[in-house]
């Protein structure tokens, strides 16, 4: 195109390239701002009134440990009370007390209890030589602690609808950019099929929003919004790579949403998950076993199976089960300290993945195992023991299969001969194309990085940087990384330690995976071949990312808010 029209289109392209990253940053800021706002005050749920001295102890959490340990949620300075004596839990059907294997026992209205026992207002709870009466919280006048993350006093954050409108605008602009490639500008022939994908994606998002807000009565949509934002980038970048891949991504996104809703429903009762844990163990190991037997090799790792023409990566699905059986509610943490079953399960998972040659995913599982076991036990010894045995095991593997080390020779030397032509080939090109893109990118569809092997998955960061620029790439990475802070901030506001642990570990897992993806492709770590959550192509990965987001979503008490109003307290929200 020449003349004025050509100039107008060129100008439009430049404006798009600058506006899109800025809009992405704005959306991410709004998502987190919304996560910080719209919070209830952290006020006590009920309180324990000490008969002896008339002191009122606030009960702040859904699950509270009671004991002589200063770290207990409810601290009782009484020599007759065990360090970890009992657990006071809130469930949908009321408050429950459990004896955490204490020496002197727990008495409700004078009777010693065993197992979970319901307690009601004005019940008398005796532990050691102390007796407490359960009271409403309104009478409590003391101050409570606040997390830096939340902004309780400020006005409400952006409305969820506006958030979605912003994302829709983002998707629209990205689609426009995808239509105005360099070739189009030169030839003047515009192909409008990208708008078809745009309509499907926007439709999925709004459909999901309407269903959750109308049918499930949920008021918050930030986590889903983040997933859709990331998915939009992935879809936009895959349009010019392969139509088939784009359609697979869209179908996987739809499946991911279904998975997400199913997970939230399933996780609603943490005790139910515990009941199913045996089946999760069996199912996960079964999947890995099938993978080992029928596995197909792609990019050097036999981590694929093909079912009826659809290739599936079982390890992605096992990730979900892994976190599910790893997390536990507080009374389980206090009574069943033995991690043996989970330890064996983790070792089997990591071993199976190593056997498939998928060392990246094996590393993710191992790091997640460390996170889970530490959050459950708080024991550094377990951590050190696990790390040292893993190092020992790796050394043995390298002793017998030294060629595995060759894969990592290029690490840190990707621009040097001869690595730049073999094992450092992709990393060197990724960096070159990241540099070519600059801050605002060369435009969707104009990149060269897409010609590299695994450009749609392992080294997708190169495509994002080259075509959309460093600002967007960094913003997307920061948006996922910041989930860790969010997951930790909601720890004590979750309805159970089951959610706290699973949310922190899901966020941790995503960050570990993202680190391996970005730093592996850019030669900061050895290249291992894992996916960028939501942006890398891959159906299994997409679905598992939605499931991991579901853990985080479930940990936010607002997710199940509608059903929990009015337990001993007149104001819950």
């Amino acid at each position: 195109m020449n003349g004025f029209l050509g100039f107008a289109f060129d100008l439009a392209v430049v404006i798009l390239r600058v506006v899109i990253p800025l809009l992405a940053v704005l959306i991410i800021v709004q998502i987190y701002s919304s996560l910080r706002h719209n919070r209830r005050n952290e006020r006590p749920l009920i309180m324990l009134w000490d008969e002896q001295d008339g002191r009122a102890i606030p009960v702040l959490y859904w699950e509270n440990s009671i004991g002589r340990s200063r770290l207990s949620d409810i601290y009782i300075n009484d020599p007759a009370v065990s360090r970890e004596h009992a657990v006071l839990l809130r469930r949908d059907d009321g408050w429950i007390v459990t004896d955490a294997d204490s020496k002197t026992g727990v008495f409700v209205n004078g009777e010693r209890i065993s197992g979970r026992t319901h307690v009601y207002l004005n019940d008398r709870l005796r532990l050691g030589s102390s007796t407490f009466v359960i009271k409403r919280a309104e009478e409590f006048m003391g101050r409570t602690r606040r997390s830096w993350f939340f902004n309780v006093s400020g006005k409400n954050g952006v409305s969820q609808k506006l958030l979605l409108v912003l994302i829709t605008i983002f998707q629209f602009l990205v689609t426009c950019e995808a239509c105005l490639t360099e070739e189009v500008l030169k030839s003047g022939v515009i192909d409008l099929t990208p708008f078809g994908y745009f309509l499907i994606l926007a439709g999925l998002m709004w459909g999901e929003y309407l269903i959750t807000s109308l049918a499930f009565k949920r008021v918050n949509f930030e986590i889903e919004a983040l997933a859709f934002l990331l998915t939009s980038v992935g879809i936009a970048l895959s349009i010019h790579q392969s139509a088939k891949q784009t359609i697979v991504q869209l179908i996987a996104a739809a499946a991911g949403i279904v998975m997400f809703q199913f997970m939230i429903k399933f996780l609603e009762d943490p005790d139910r998950v515990t009941r199913y844990s045996k089946w999760i163990y069996i199912g996960s190991l079964g999947l890995l076993l099938i993978n080992i037997i029928f596995g197909q090799t792609k990019y050097g790792a036999a981590n694929w199976i093909v079912i009826a023409g659809v290739s599936v990566q079982p390890s992605e699905i096992v990730k979900i089960g892994f976190i599910m059986v790893g997390a536990a509610s507080l009374d389980q943490l206090q009574t069943k300290k033995n991690l043996f079953a989970f330890l064996v399960f983790s070792a089997l998972c990591v071993g199976a993945l190593a056997l498939m040659g998928d060392f990246g995913t094996a590393l993710i599982f191992f790091a997640t195992f460390l996170l889970i076991s530490f959050m459950r036990s708080g024991d550094f010894k377990t951590l050190i023991l696990a790390v040292s045995s893993a190092v020992f095991a790796s050394l043995i593997v390298l002793r017998f299969k030294p060629y595995i080390l060759d894969r990592f020779n290029a690490w840190g030397h990707c621009f040097e001969e001869p690595y730049v032509w073999d094992t450092g080939f992709q990393q060197a090109r990724t960096l070159i194309y990241c540099a070519s893109g600059g801050l605002f990118g060369m435009g969707i569809g104009n990149g060269c990085c897409t010609s590299l092997a695994a450009s749609e998955s392992d080294i997708v960061i190169g495509v994002v940087c080259e075509e959309m620029g460093l600002i967007i790439a960094a913003a997307m990475a920061v948006a996922i990384g910041a989930l860790v802070f969010y997951a930790r901030a909601i720890t004590t506001r979750s309805r159970s330690t089951f959610y706290s642990i699973s949310a922190c570990c899901a966020a941790g897992l995503l960050v570990i995976q993202l680190s391996l993806n970005i730093f592996g492709a850019t030669d900061i770590l050895p290249l291992t071949g894992v996916t960028f959550p939501f942006i890398s192509a891959g159906g299994s990965s997409m679905i598992s990312c939605w499931a991991l987001f579901a853990f985080i979503k479930a940990a936010d008490e607002r997710t199940y808010a509608i059903k929990k109003a009015g337990l001993f307290s007149s104001e819950d929200r």
Partner: protein
């Protein structure tokens, strides 16, 4: 719950490690982007990378390279293409110091802020005008090619610093780059701009530095007489001259290029003084023209015995000199002690000029190399050498002050040197020529220098 909250701090460490890594990635990308983006592996640049790059002109507006309809075209004249190859470069980035390698980002309009892919209307490619005279380069190239000489020749204006003529051989036509087989040494050094990136033993041309040190540090220098028998034992080793020079002072020793005279001076001055003078003259120092680093000249006598020190004073031992640096030394002598810094980028034109490239600065002086009285004395000696010894006709109509050199290379061959400057007021040219395996400088390098001066003079004189 509190315990779980405390334990979840572990995820924070994870996140902090991640953000630290991300920060490292961003910083590394931003600081290295210019270098990475122009690596030859970049498919945006290498395949058809100069397809839309800016043009390169010589000082008279002669097109040295330009892009027309997606193709990179070079000058029509093959002589010029070959002569300016090392200044301009070819499609690849094989010649690392060439403009098309060093300033490829500017030529194609790359900046990290906007990346490489701005649409046509906004592309800020930069045109670059060089200070060199293409025709002068071609004439020198012809003269060198006629004798099958390999080496370097450079002429620059010692008042302004503009490089007028710069030729490095062997060379090739950028339209047909050589395919060099393993072990084929006919193309040795072809990717090197020898004016900028090579160094050779300076041989007798180094006597200028020894002389300067002696003039400033020894009382009866340069008037001291010495009897040269043709050979003498210094530090237990024979130092020899081509022929006995008998009773000579420094001016005669310079003209006759007496090794014994300057070897004795070097030993008398001692290693620390010699080294400090060599360094004042720019040996072991880094110089650059814009982003282009000039190969360091080398002088080190810390571990030398007297024989080594003696030989170092006449430009042997481990001495190495870069041709452009030797021309700078001549410019310092011509200018009364301080050199004028050479440059090659005359002008840069672009719409936005967001690139890092700026034109060289005219008349920028480097650090003083010697006292101005010393410069005058050296200048007189070099002038005497030409006038009384070679005869002024050697350089045609020009009045030239020069020093030749015949440097022994380790393999038994000898490189021929001449360095100097034109004393005529209207033609302030400093030059250095080094012909590999050329034998006596007077017979190999001097005729090339004459051609270079004659070809470059119109650029400074205007006629």
């Amino acid at each position: 719950m509190k315990k779980v909250l405390t334990r979840s701090l572990l995820t924070w460490f994870l996140a902090l490690a991640f953000f630290a890594g991300l920060g490292y990635f961003v910083v590394r990308l931003v600081t290295n982007a210019n270098e990475w983006a122009q690596l030859p592996m970049n498919a945006h640049l290498s395949a058809n990378g100069l397809a839309r790059a800016g043009a390169i002109y010589d000082r008279n507006g002669v097109i040295l390279a330009e892009s027309v309809e997606g193709e990179r075209l070079y000058n029509e004249d093959e002589r010029i293409r070959r002569a300016v190859l090392h200044s301009v470069g070819d499609d690849s980035t094989s010649i690392a110091t060439s403009v098309q390698s060093m300033y490829r980002n500017e030529l194609v309009g790359y900046s990290f802020l906007l990346g490489l892919g701005l649409p046509e209307s906004f592309r800020s490619t930069e045109d670059i005008t060089l200070t060199i005279d293409a025709e002068a380069c071609a004439k020198v190239y012809d003269a060198m090619a006629a004798n099958d000489y390999k080496g370097a020749a450079v002429v620059y204006n010692y008042k302004t610093g503009e490089i007028i003529c710069k030729v490095s051989t062997p060379t090739y036509d950028p339209y047909s780059p050589p395919e060099i087989a393993e072990g084929d040494d006919t193309w040795e050094g072809v990717y090197l701009d020898k004016v900028i990136s090579a160094s050779y033993p300076p041989g007798s041309t180094f006597k200028l530095i020894t002389a300067a040190a002696a003039i400033e540090m020894i009382n009866d220098s340069p008037d001291r007489y010495l009897y040269c028998e043709g050979s003498s034992i210094i530090g237990g080793e024979y130092v020899t001259c081509v022929e006995p020079h008998n009773e000579i002072d420094m001016t005669m020793a310079m003209a006759d290029s007496c090794n014994i005279y300057f070897a004795e001076l070097a030993v008398e001055l001692g290693a620390p003084t010699m080294e400090s003078y060599a360094e004042r003259f720019g040996f072991n120092q880094s110089f650059s023209m814009g982003n282009i680093d000039i190969k360091k000249s080398f002088y080190d006598v810390k571990k030398a015995d007297d024989a080594g020190l003696a030989w170092s004073g006449v430009g042997q031992y481990t001495d190495m000199a870069n041709p452009l640096h030797m021309a700078m030394i001549c410019s310092a002598i011509a200018n009364g002690g301080s050199p004028t810094m050479p440059y090659m980028i005359k002008d840069v034109s672009s719409i936005f000029n967001i690139g890092s490239l700026t034109a060289g600065k005219s008349g920028q002086s480097g650090r003083d190399m010697m006292k101005s009285s010393t410069a005058n004395k050296l200048s007189d000696m070099m002038r005497t050498t030409v006038r009384d010894h070679y005869g002024d006709s050697t350089f045609g109509e020009f009045h030239v002050a020069a020093k030749t050199g015949t440097a022994e290379v380790g393999d038994g061959t000898e490189d021929g040197w001449v360095v100097g400057f034109v004393t005529d007021e209207d033609c302030p040219l400093a030059f250095a020529v080094c012909i590999e395996n050329g034998g006596f400088g007077i017979s190999s390098a001097v005729p090339i220098a004459r051609t270079a001066i004659e070809a470059s003079a119109p650029a400074v004189r205007g006629y």
